[in-house]
Structures are given as structure tokens and as C-alpha cells.
Symmetry: none
Subunit: 195 residues, 4 copies
């Protein structure tokens, strides 16, 4: 029962993630989501108490998945430069294969403060992702590979740079496929942060 419910919750989140990312939070209606799932509006409310809460659950869920992948990188026994490369790779590969996931950060989370203010204050709802970046950075500073500096200066670089590139991709202004930029950008980040 709870299991079945959890599965349905997840499928709702996946569909909503797609619609929110593609069409925007305000342009996506609850009936839209229900219709795409083949379920009734009323029933959808049995799984998520409100549209805002649904949006919040999605950002947590997405951060968790992304954080999970970075966690695996953090556990590898490779250099900081290689880790950076892998993280960029993960991010851009996700942007290519599941663009909704990354776009959700940019087009939904970033810009609908009202929606996330009650329940996602600070960065609680994206901690799945931020925590792993923090761990990566701390480790690499400890090992002497990266220069010691304010964490947010480093975090802003990761988050902003990667997000910015995906935004440019979304705008259709990148002359190359997003993959193409992995090496350049990994190097830039490493150069920016190295000891």
C-alpha cells in the first residue's frame, strides 16, 4: 500500500517535473498534470496537498538524484581535477539526457521564490546537491589540491557556471553541443580553484 502510494507519488513528480520545466510553473495547471497521468484532479490532491508542495517535493527529489551521483564521485580515489571533470560530465550529461531535471532548477526553483519560501528556506530543499559539492570542496582543500577560500565563492562558481551553460543551451545560442564544453569548463573551474 504505502509502497504503491510511493510509486504513484514518484510518477506524479516525474510528470510534473517535465511539465513545469517545459512550460513553466505558472503555465502548468494541475489538470494538465492529472490529464497526462490519466488520473483525476481530485485524486492527485490525495498525493500532494498543494501545487506548491508538489513543486517543493520535486526539487528535493531532483537534488537527491543529482547529489547521489556526485556522492559516488566523491568516494572515488582520484584527483580533484578528475573529480571536477566527472562532476561537470554528470551535470552536462544530465542536461542532455534529462534536460527537465536541470531546467527545473533554472526555470522553476530559481525564479518562483514565493512557491519555495514556505518549506524550502535557505537551501534546505537542494541540500542533496549542495552537501556533496561542499564535501568535494572540503576534501580537495584538505588534500591541498584546491586553494582554501570561502565555500560560497567556490559553490557559486560550480552552481552558477554549470547552470549558466545549461541556460545558454536552453536558449539555443550555443554553437556546439553541450558535451563539447565539458573539457574547457572543467579546466576553467580547476584553474579557478586550484592551490
Amino acid at each position: 500500500m504505502t509502497d504503491k502510494k510511493a510509486l504513484k507519488r514518484e510518477s506524479i513528480m516525474q510528470v510534473a517535473l517535465q511539465l513545469f520545466s517545459n512550460n513553466g510553473f505558472h503555465k502548468t495547471t494541475i489538470p494538465d498534470i492529472a490529464a497526462k497521468l490519466g488520473m483525476s484532479v481530485g485524486n492527485l490532491y490525495n498525493y500532494f496537498k498543494s501545487k506548491d508542495i508538489l513543486a517543493q517535493e520535486i526539487i528535493k527529489y531532483t537534488s537527491e538524484i543529482l547529489g547521489e551521483q556526485i556522492r559516488e564521485v566523491n568516494m572515488l580515489d582520484i584527483s580533484a581535477a578528475e573529480k571536477i571533470h566527472k562532476i561537470v560530465e554528470i551535470y552536462f550529461t544530465t542536461a542532455k539526457e534529462k534536460p527537465e531535471m536541470i531546467e527545473y532548477f533554472l526555470r522553476v526553483y530559481l525564479s518562483n521564490r514565493e512557491v519555495f519560501s514556505d518549506g524550502c528556506q535557505g537551501m534546505v530543499c537542494v541540500s542533496g546537491f549542495t552537501t556533496e559539492i561542499m564535501i568535494f570542496f572540503d576534501d580537495a582543500v584538505s588534500s591541498g589540491e584546491l586553494r582554501n577560500q570561502d565555500f560560497f565563492s567556490a559553490f557559486g562558481l560550480f552552481m552558477g557556471y554549470l547552470g549558466g551553460m545549461v541556460f545558454l543551451k536552453g536558449e539555443g545560442v550555443l554553437p556546439q553541443d553541450i558535451d563539447y564544453y565539458i573539457d574547457d569548463i572543467s579546466r576553467n573551474i580547476y584553474n579557478a580553484l586550484k592551490a
Copy 2:
């Protein structure tokens, strides 16, 4: 006559900029804007044909102002490292003194694709800003100060990194005032791009 009208247009843009940035595009209504200006809804439509067009004019206007300031930096006879520092300074100072201007990029332009798709395709409406970054980069590559690489890799760094920091500021998670990060971030950008 036309002068008076131009002034009123500008005052409308300034008020709308503030409201859109603070409350979000969709949460700000035309009556809200008109009320804050002490004018009638109908009359506002004499100045801007639609809410979307108003939003588009604002992004152009804002990009122009920001671009203007960077243009002045570009004309100075100083090193690339110093230029980067000045650009970061301009950006963060603006973020501090007129936060609406920067937040508009993040919370309105970045995330409401539908609003800007008809009339602001590609980056036309932000060319005031992007053009100056491009000029800075080309000059510095020509002079041998910065490594030659794909423009977008460099542009994404500027735009994403700076934007990302302002986002963190807006979320209230930065332990320090935004000014505090100017030096760190300028250095990181320079390290990332230097020859």
C-alpha cells in the same frame, strides 16, 4: 510631448522592474503596477501594448545600463585582471544598490521563456550586456592576457558565476555581504581564464 511620454515610459519600467523582481512576473499584476504609479490601468496600456512587451522592454533597458558601465571599463587602459575586478565590482555594486536590476535577470528573464520567446529570441534583448563582455574577452585574448577559448565557455563563466552569487545573496545564505566576495571571485575568474 514625446519627451514627456518617454519619461513616463521610463517611470513605468522602473516601477515594473521593482515589482517583477520582488514579487515575480506572474505574481505582479498590471493593476499593481498602475496603482503604484498612481495611474489607470487603461492608460498604462497606452505606453506598453501588453505585459509581455513591458517585460521585454525592461530587460533591454536594464541590459543597456549594465552594458554602458562595462563599456567604460573596456575603454580603460588597464590589465585584463583589473578589468575583471572592475566588472565584478560593477555587478556586485549594482546587486547591492539596485538589487532589482540584477534579480530581474535571474527571476524574470531567465525563467519565463514564454514571455520572452516572441521578441527576445536568442539573446537580442540582452545584447547590451553580452556585447561588452564579448569585447572585453576578445581584447584580452588579443593582447595575450587570456587564453584563447570558445567564447561561450568564458561568457557562461561570467554570467553564471556572477548571477549565481547574486542568487545566493537573494536566498539569504551568504554569511558575508556581497562586497566581501569581489576579490575572491575576480581572482577565480582571472585564474580560470588567464593565458
Copy 3:
């Protein structure tokens, strides 16, 4: 369920028919219609996607009802002159008992081309009525009772003449009750068309 919904659809059409006919399409608002039905505006939109579509469904519905009655006349084994008399009778009786139905043709369908252009091109939405007139005419020509001529010359006579009389009735200029004219007009039509 679907049955209940169909009934409600019909009651909406009947109320809208009345209001559109009496007050004009543009002077009748959706809130007017909803109020008269004791239902909410939002719910009305669950039954008809737009005001234009509501207007289109009404003309189809009305044509169907009128066509149905003429179909019965067509199936009778009587002379063309008698059929004409019966058709005029049906038309004028309807104009007397359910004036909205006839006035809808004159005051809504005839004159709001924009409303019917998407979805009712040509005469598709009034085919319920036109088809029966066509059948009547073809039969009577085949039997040699009416002169063979361009169908539209004959159709325009029926539609225009009958409609014109009802228009005059609506303007309040007819000195007599509409019934009074049945004989005269039937004779005129028959004389016009007879072989």
C-alpha cells in the same frame, strides 16, 4: 453521468439562446448567462470552451430542431403548394412561440461573422435546416410541380423572405400578428416557384 452533463449542456444552450437573441451576442456576457442558470462562470466553461463555441453549438442545435420539423413535412404525401404552406406555418409558429430561435438566426448568426467563421464556414452549422429545404425543392422539381432553377435562387427566397418577415415582426412594424401572413406568403412563394 454523461447524460446529466448532456442535459446541463442543453439547458445552458437554451438560456444562452434566449439572452443572445434578446440582447445581442456582444451585449450578453458569460456572467449574465451563468447568473441566469444559477451556476458559476468557471463551471460554464467546463461545458463550452468559449463564448464563440457556445454560439456555434446553439446554431447547430437550433437548425437541427427546425430541420427535423421540415423533414416531417418532406415525408408527407401532399402537394408542393401544401408543403410550402406547412413550412411557412412551422416557421411562423416557431417565431411566435419560441421567437428566440428564429431571432437567433437573424440577430446572432447572420451578423457576427467573426464568431462563426472558425467552425461554421459556409453553411455547415445550419445544414440541418438547409438540407431539408434542398430536399423539398429537389423533390418538387422532380415531380414537375416547381420550375427547375438554380437552387440558391429558391433557397434565398425561402430563407430571406421568412427571415425578413420575422425581422419586421421583431421591429414591431407589422400591423397584424405574424400568423396573419401565412396564407399570403405561402401563396407568394408558390407563385414565385411554380412550374
Copy 4:
């Protein structure tokens, strides 16, 4: 002065006639009319006190022009059958060459009762046209060419039949040019009314 004013009044009526006929009364705005005339909205109100009054003046003006032409037919020394033919000819030629004039009856006058109720009760505003039809009919009855019957039965035939044909033309359903129908329809009308 008054002369100049009269000329301008007429030019306003001609432009408004066109726009009302083509786009409908409610879809045509006063600014639309003013713009097409290259004059200001405020000034237009110096010539016509309201949109409704403008519409009323147009119907009078149009009826007068049409009536004028029929008056000339009435004065000719020809048979009733020939007069009918000429009247149909005038009507259809006008429908072809100045379709706005005829369409104004169908699409504006016929269907916006509210607009004409104050100032055009009964048929006062179209008396220019109706009077001439009445004269034609009375003369032809007096001379024994047409059967004596209720005037409205005859008038409805003229007005409705001719209007109906032009409506069909406007709908684009007539397989032939409107000219083509002149002979058929003249004959039908004559047959309907002849003694």
C-alpha cells in the same frame, strides 16, 4: 464652414460604414475609425456625439442613397416587371460594387437593436428605402399589374429575398456571381406578386 463640416461628416460616415460592415459594429473601435481618417479621436467626437449616433446616421445616409436610385426607377414609364428587374439590378450591382452598403443593413442594422433603438424606432432610419418600395408597390397595384395584398407581405419579399441573396454571397456559398441571379430573382418576385 458648415460646408466643410458637412464634407468631413460624410467622409467619416464612409470610413465608418466600411469598417462597421467589414469588421462588425462591436469589433470596430472609434480609434480605428479615427486612425483610418488620420484624425484624432477627440475631434471625431466633434462631428458625432457617440458611436451609436454615428451608426444611426450611416443607416439613414445609406437608405437615402439606395432610395434615390429606386425613386428614379419609379419615375420611369415602364412595366412593373421591368421595374422589378431594375430594382433587383440596382440592389445587386450595389452589392457588387459597394458591398459595404448592403452589408451594413445585414451585419450592422439588422442585428444591433440596442444601437438603433433610441433614434431609429420602427423603420424611420431606413424610410429612404422603404418609402420607395412602397411607392413602387402602390403604383403597380393601382395600375393592375400586381395583385393587391398586404404591403408588408410584399415588402418582406423584396427586402428579405434580396438581403438573403447578399448574405449568401457574403458567406461565399453562391456558386455564381451575384449578377447571375438577377433574371431568376426578378422573375420569381414578379411571379409572386403579379395580378
